[in-house]
């Protein structure tokens, strides 16, 4: 059992506070920085990025469009403009390289809410037995894609999508959006551990699929140094992804975390006093060596 009161102390002692929170700080800067880029226009009158995460235009040149929402629009029968198609291709290429769920941990504003809920769960010692499968998000994803086909009234998912609602709320006006955000927060805090991002969110599931072959991966390259403190498992939002890479040496499993569930958030890198983890690339040989059957057996779903 990991002692939650001393969680991260070893890492801070070994590396100093800044280095022990390096990627966390950078992620927050990224999340807030992206919001700031969208907000300079409406607040200061300096337009850098217009629109929101669904579709945006940077400096009147660079279009970026969310592939999940555009796919829903296409399924409900729309023919997108060229700018949207270019925007989608750029986004797909980016996440194809850096890992789809980088969207979740480095871009999505809801991540800050659910991370806070996770942190509070640890601080307050809240334990609930989860009833929701981590695969439920794929069912949710299927639902978001089926609804535009069968129900008239278009992109139904966008009526309640907390991801786009929160971002749009901050950039365009909140209204009662805080109710949705609070619901996600309380759900994660009191009902299910990592309930929203890790089990239900279809947006995350979509990006998960995009980045399933991504080049940028977290690598347990230094796994021989692991002292079994288990703190990485505590802070990881998708803890089942760690075990094969960290503990699979004897089975000949690559030290690269290959599960596309991994959000590349880098918390494991921060929290590890022994510097076991680092960002790295995925090589073709690693893909081959990692027999998915073997990995599946070692993934422990929580």
């Amino acid at each position: 059992m990991v002692d939650l009161t001393t969680l991260g102390d070893d890492s801070i002692a070994a590396k100093g506070w800044i280095k022990a929170h390096k990627w966390l700080i950078l992620r927050r800067l990224s999340q807030l920085g992206i919001l700031a880029l969208f907000l300079t226009g409406p607040v200061l009158g300096v337009w850098i990025v217009k629109g929101n995460l669904a579709s945006s235009l940077t400096l009147d040149i660079l279009p970026l469009t969310d592939p999940h929402v555009l796919l829903q629009a296409v399924l409900s029968g729309v023919v997108p403009e060229t700018t949207a198609i270019i925007g989608v291709v750029l986004v797909l290429l980016f996440y194809f390289v850096v890992g789809g769920r980088v969207y979740c941990s480095w871009v999505c504003p809801v991540n800050m809410v659910t991370d806070l809920a996770s942190w509070l769960r640890r601080m307050l010692g809240i334990r609930t037995t989860s009833q929701i499968s981590r695969n439920a998000r794929y069912w949710m994803l299927a639902l978001t894609l089926i609804l535009p086909l069968v129900v008239s009234g278009g992109i139904i998912w966008e009526l309640i999508n907390p991801v786009s609602m929160m971002f749009r709320g901050i950039v365009f006006g909140m209204g009662a959006t805080w109710v949705v955000i609070l619901a996600v927060f309380l759900f994660d805090l009191l009902v299910t551990k990592e309930g929203w991002c890790g089990r239900l969110c279809p947006v995350g599931a979509f990006y998960n699929l995009i980045g399933s072959r991504s080049l940028l991966r977290v690598n347990a390259s230094n796994r021989a140094e692991c002292n079994d403190c288990m703190e990485c498992f505590v802070v990881c939002p998708e803890p089942h992804v760690i075990r094969p890479a960290l503990k699979g040496e004897k089975k000949g499993i690559s030290p690269v975390i290959l599960s596309s569930d991994c959000t590349n958030c880098g918390r494991c890198i921060d929290i590890c006093a022994k510097d076991v983890f680092s960002y790295g690339g995925r090589s073709v040989s690693e893909t081959k060596r990692s027999n998915p059957e073997v990995i599946k057996k070692h993934e422990v779903h929580t």
């Binding site: 226009g41 629109g51 409900s76 729309v78 023919v79 403009e81 009526l159 309640i160 365009f172």
Partner: protein, 286 residues
């Protein structure tokens, strides 16, 4: 059955059970969403969509709620629906009374739309149909009281076509005219400038979504005179000029002027104009 088989059987049962649970849960969410979407997709009458917006149902499927149209509107009159508003969350709208469409010639909101939810085929803003203006209250519109206003007529960007003034007799005073504003759907874009300009506390001319503002004639209706015009002749009974038993020099025009007395000039030495006789001596002496 060996132990491992038993174990596998349990696992399979568990697996199927879990999957069923998840599927049912997600299915319920889907049903809830479907029902909610029915309520959430009804557009209140005073919320108007930007120019070029597809019919509401298609629009809700095409609009990805990005807000680029809102950002590119130079008059900042477009807004995105917020959670709790009566318009589908994240979709753009404007309210004519407080911020009507100023009808930019280059239609920047359409250019900004990445999905054709605002139809890029629309290039002439005068062809847009954001709604239809209706003079909803003839009891308060001061034109109907015989007062000169005509503000809606004058601010209309398609002046003289979308709103015309019909002159009618002012029965109250008996000697004045009423200048009644009349909206013509073939020209009105529904921009809402008239609604904003209306001088009343609550506008008497309002823009409604077209489907709310327009009636529709039964498909089987045929207007006889139009059919006749199209065919170039009467389609039912041939036109026979009606003969009336009238004295000589008198005609009756049934669909026009009514009774016409074709006066022949009377044979008299005197001019019908009295001035001619009064001035005759004066003119002669000159």
């Amino acid at each position: 059955m060996s132990d491992t088989d038993k174990k596998h059987g349990m696992n399979r049962r568990q697996f199927l059970g879990n999957m069923l649970k998840t599927a049912c849960g997600v299915g319920l969410v889907g049903m809830g969403l479907g029902i909610y979407s029915n309520r959430a997709s009804s557009l209140p009458a005073h919320y108007l969509r930007p120019p070029g917006a597809l019919p509401e149902e298609d629009f809700l499927g095409a609009c990805i709620r990005c807000g680029l149209c809102v950002r590119d509107c130079p008059y900042d009159m477009l807004f995105l629906g917020e959670v709790g508003d009566d318009v589908a969350t994240g979709t753009p709208y404007f309210v004519a009374r407080t911020g009507p469409c100023e009808m930019c010639e280059d239609i920047p909101c359409i250019a900004a739309c990445p999905t054709n939810a605002l139809d890029h085929g629309l290039t002439d803003i005068e062809e847009s149909r954001m709604g239809l203006a209706v003079v909803v209250d003839q009891e308060t519109c001061i034109a109907f009281h015989g007062l000169r206003c005509e503000v809606c007529f004058n601010v209309c960007p398609i002046r003289g076509k979308a709103i015309t003034l019909n002159m009618q007799h002012n029965v109250r005073s008996g000697k004045h005219a009423l200048f009644i504003p009349v909206v013509h759907s073939e020209a009105c874009t529904g921009c809402g400038l008239c609604e904003r300009a209306c001088i009343l506390e609550e506008a008497a001319i309002k823009v409604f979504p077209t489907d709310l503002a327009k009636g529709e004639l039964g498909k089987h209706y045929r207007l006889g005179w139009k059919e006749k015009e199209k065919a170039g002749k009467a389609l039912v009974t041939p036109d026979v000029e009606h003969k009336y038993n009238l004295p000589e020099g008198v005609r009756y025009d049934l669909q026009g002027e009514g009774l016409i007395i074709e006066e022949k000039p009377e044979e008299t030495p005197f001019s019908s104009n009295p001035l001619n006789s009064l001035n005759s001596g004066f003119l002669d002496s000159k």
